[in-house]
């Protein structure tokens, strides 16, 4: 096994959340990983390759962990990978926060990892007058230490050199913390027993294993329980545990954590100096926080920020959308003209102009608002505000049956529900995670925006912003009620926990912002590019079959399908076969709803408005938007739910539930609206 892969050296990037692992990954591999300034951005391990001096390296960017005693999903991913013996572990450490960061370092060293310690954010440390004696730290820990500023690639050449030197070298002697005498005694007793089983000590250092057994590390215990010979070891472990508990009056977890932190305190005293600044002074970041988390200003500021995000998204994108529309109308005319002159068959012209060009147009029109929205979300993430938002909102979210951290997946959901659902992994508690995941589709993603823009533009031109806002709000309200209901009846588990770090504010780099915007935006376009255009073309074809029918008439396949469904939608005020068809295709991707309407009404993008005006009333238009907001999530979202919940049962439940909620709400709004005299 090992021999086959000998050419490739596996490097694991490990470290506390938000220490700069992904930035370093990008610096090493040149690939654009998502980088953000709130703990828990990387929720899956990501891999990349690079070569240096003719050697190939495989780098694995792990989710952040505070320690190896994992309890969240992403921490488990990181721990399991680290336990699987990567060749080299690059431990990325935030230099401004050595004390806490070194806790993981100690655990990695105790495990016997071939480790390079990277003191990242050394620029920030310098600004804070923190001086670290690199050489001393390296001697005391017995491991190479490199200083870096990952986003500026400072220190990367040195890091590469260290990695090359370390490669293939057996770790000399494993690093050891000297625990108190009586603890060492017990460790030695267990170790003595463990060394009787070489098959075990080949895999793990015996001292480390002894410590983990004392600590009661779950994964290791599980693994050890499977070994029959461990029954000779466990009694000693129990005895040692009992003795230490009696002596210290604390449990073993505390004893070890305590000892490690004491070690670190001494280490830091010896290797780190804070100049100029006194201990008690507050940084700019702290002072900003006094306002952002202020008793009176905190929440208004939060709401204002959210409002700003959406206003900017729409106001700034408006002119761009106009230009794109004009451009495509022009293109369609020109293409028709040229193709007709060339003598191309009508059927084919229609295919190109009404199908293909129209399809591309209906995608591009929505690119500006979506990119701007992602830009805004990236700005919140990179600056560090988003962690404050979780802190400010936790009480409320907790009352609503969610968690402060649920807020982040929900916010991402405004961009696209898929990353939103992926981000639920940072939640520690399964109940919290499932609920956040299941309510996420009710958060109005950017792909639903085209429908709102179209309908509000036609019927509510003067109050467009407010009507759209009301839809977002409705989505939120439904999500909240659902969460409360689920918490109450479906997941009656224990309440969750909230222990979260507030990272210091950072000024986002323009490059970073645009990278994020581009990554998320382009993945949206990719989805759009493939699915939407394919769907628009498919609909065009279905609208023309069987041969000879009038284009997109109710004689066509698509028309028949819609006709069958229309009566079900009638109570909601939009019981026409055209709307039924557009909703069916909306399941594939919500952004095709408008494109579908264009095709089934037999008009181009610019003509949809007029057709909508003829077929809808303001009330039924609103009901239709509500339906689009709430009914079955798109296929990509369904896939994400299936993957993250790891259960078809939950996925199917999510589908059925949202369909019922969507239909009921649409009907309710239409019927009640009529009673109140709206039309």
């Amino acid at each position: 096994m090992k021999i086959l892969e000998a050419k490739e050296t596996v490097i694991a990037l490990a470290g506390n959340p938000n220490s700069g692992k992904s930035s370093l990954f990008n610096a090493l591999t040149g690939s654009r990983q998502h980088v953000g300034n709130w703990p828990g951005v990387t929720v899956e391990k990501k891999e990349g390759r690079f070569s240096y001096r003719g050697l190939t390296f495989r780098v694995v960017d792990l989710p952040g962990t505070y320690s190896l005693g994992a309890h969240t999903e992403d921490e488990i991913i990181a721990r399991d990978f680290l336990f699987s013996h990567p060749d080299i572990v690059v431990n990325v450490v935030d230099s401004t926060n050595l004390e806490r960061n070194l806790y993981l370092t100690l655990q990695l060293l105790e495990m016997g990892a071939s480790l390079v310690l990277v003191l990242n954010m050394s620029d920030e440390a310098k600004a804070k007058h923190i001086e670290i004696d690199q050489g001393r730290l390296s001697t005391l820990l017995g491991t190479p230490v490199v200083m870096t500023v990952a986003p500026r690639k400072e220190g990367i050449p040195e890091l590469l050199e260290r990695i090359v030197t370390l490669r293939g070298r057996e770790p000399r002697e494993t690093f050891r913390i000297k625990y108190r005498e009586d603890i060492e005694e017990e460790i030695a007793k267990i170790e003595a027993l463990l060394t009787l089983y070489p098959e075990l000590t080949h895999r793990y250092p015996s001292r480390w294993l002894a410590i983990k057994l004392l600590e009661g590390e779950k994964r290791i215990l599980q693994e050890m329980n499977r070994q029959s010979f461990m029954k000779h070891v466990f009694p000693q472990v129990e005895e040692s545990k009992k003795r230490l508990i009696d002596r210290y009056g604390e449990d073993l977890e505390t004893i070890f954590a305590n000892q490690r932190y004491h070690f670190i305190t001494r280490l830091v005293q010896e290797c780190m100096r804070r100049k100029g600044e006194e201990k008690g002074t507050y940084t700019l970041s702290d002072r900003i926080d006094r306002v952002v988390t202020h008793r009176f200003f905190g929440i208004p500021l939060f709401l204002f920020t959210m409002w700003l995000v959406f206003q900017c998204t729409f106001a700034l994108s408006e002119p761009l959308v106009g230009w794109i529309e004009t451009l495509f109308t022009f293109l369609q005319e020109k293409a028709t003209f040229i193709l007709e002159n060339l003598g191309v068959a009508d059927f084919f012209i229609s295919f190109l102009v009404d199908g293909v060009i129209n399809g591309v147009g209906s995608v591009l029109v929505f690119v500006p608002p979506i990119f701007l929205l992602f830009l805004a979300i990236s700005l919140l993430e990179d600056s560090g505000y988003i962690a404050r938002a979780a802190y400010v909102m936790d009480r409320l979210m907790h009352i609503l049956g969610l968690h402060g951290k649920s807020f982040i997946p929900l916010l991402l959901g405004f961009g696209c529900n898929v990353p939103g659902i992926m981000a639920t992994r940072t939640l520690e508690n399964r109940e919290d995670r499932m609920i956040t995941m299941l309510v996420n589709p009710f958060i109005s993603c950017a792909a639903r925006l085209p429908v709102y823009v179209l309908f509000t533009g036609v019927f509510f031109a003067r109050h467009q912003g407010w009507i759209i806002f009301s839809l977002y709000l409705l989505g939120i309200v439904v999500a909240i009620l659902t969460a409360k209901w689920f918490k109450r009846y479906l997941f009656k588990g224990e309440t969750s926990h909230f222990v979260m770090e507030l990272p210091p504010y950072r000024i986002p780099t323009v490059k970073g912002l645009f990278i994020h915007m581009w990554e998320r935006g382009s993945s949206f376009i990719k989805k759009a590019g493939t699915i939407i255009i394919a769907m628009v073309v498919l609909i065009w074809i279905l609208a023309n079959l069987p041969f000879g029918v009038e284009y997109a008439s109710n004689e066509s396949i698509i028309g028949k399908l819609g006709t069958a469904m229309a009566p079900l939608l009638a109570p909601a005020g939009f019981g026409t076969w055209q709307t039924a068809v557009s909703l069916i295709f909306g399941i594939v991707a919500k952004e095709v709803v408008v494109g579908t309407l264009a095709v089934v009404y037999g008009v181009g993008e610019e003509g949809v408005g007029e057709m909508v005006r003829q077929h809808f009333t303001p009330l039924s238009a609103y009901a239709f938007m509500v339906m689009t907001l709430l009914y079955i999530p798109c296929v990509a979202t369904i896939g994400a739910i299936r993957r993250e919940s790891n259960s078809w049962g939950i996925t199917i439940f999510a589908l059925g539930y949202s369909l019922i909620v969507g239909w009921t709400m649409a009907v309710l709004i239409f019927q009640v609206g009529q009673l109140l005299g709206f039309h």
Partner: protein, 224 residues
């Protein structure tokens, strides 16, 4: 519930009794305890087993009962509360000492924990005179131990115990809140819940329900 190691009133009484007896006689046996508390030996054994499983005391069969560090601290805390209540009743309200003894007991176990904690803090400030009659108390009242969630922004202190259990305990320890660590309370979220503390040079937020498991020896009170 179930997470904190809050003891039942009966167990608290046992701990206090063991403390009193051990100070009087040096060693404590089940028989003495049964006699002192006027209950059957069987029920004493049962309570002792529970206390052993909670790591409060150590006890070998037929051997003497001994405190663990944790148990001793807990017992002293319980007795301190008891004494302060009793003193309040006797010294300020002029209640008959016999009645005060009984009533203090009742009050301790009927009032909710949070209220009691606050009441004790308040009474302590009222009863200025140090207590000389009972050993150990003076020391405890000097070192103000409070749970983290009760501290106002600006308060500084040192962690002395993390009483949370299971996974939340692990997380609290991992984040560096181990006994001996200095903490300062920085603020509370606008809606009053998660609180923000500074620990090991960084900002940590946690819910008050979680902070209530962290006991802090206050070194500097909030100014105002």
């Amino acid at each position: 519930m179930g997470e904190s190691i809050s003891l039942s009133p009966a167990l608290e009484n046992y701990l206090e009794a063991i403390l009193n007896l051990s100070e009087k006689n040096g060693t404590v046996h089940i028989t003495d305890l049964a006699e002192y508390m006027q209950v059957a030996k069987a029920s004493v054994s049962q309570a002792i087993n529970t206390l052993v499983s909670l790591h409060m005391i150590k006890h070998e069969k037929y051997g003497p009962i001994e405190f663990t560090l944790l148990g001793k601290r807990e017992a002293e805390k319980i007795r301190e509360k008891h004494c302060i209540l009793k003193r309040f009743l006797v010294e300020i309200l002029q209640v008959n000492p016999h009645v005060a003894e009984k009533d203090a007991c009742l009050m301790e176990h009927v009032v909710s924990e949070g209220t009691l904690e606050k009441l004790i803090t308040f009474l302590q400030s009222q009863l200025q005179e140090p207590l000389h009659r009972e050993r150990g108390i003076e020391k405890m009242s000097k070192a103000q131990v409070q749970s983290l969630n009760e501290l106002r922004p600006g308060t500084k202190g040192k962690v002395i115990r993390v009483a949370a259990q299971g996974f939340i305990r692990r997380r609290i320890l991992d984040m560096g809140l181990v006994p001996g660590t200095e903490v300062s309370v920085e603020g509370v979220a606008p809606l009053g819940d998660p609180m923000e503390i500074k620990v090991r040079g960084y900002m940590l937020t946690l819910r008050k329900s979680e902070a209530s498991h962290v006991f802090v020896e206050v070194t500097e009170y909030a100014r105002s």
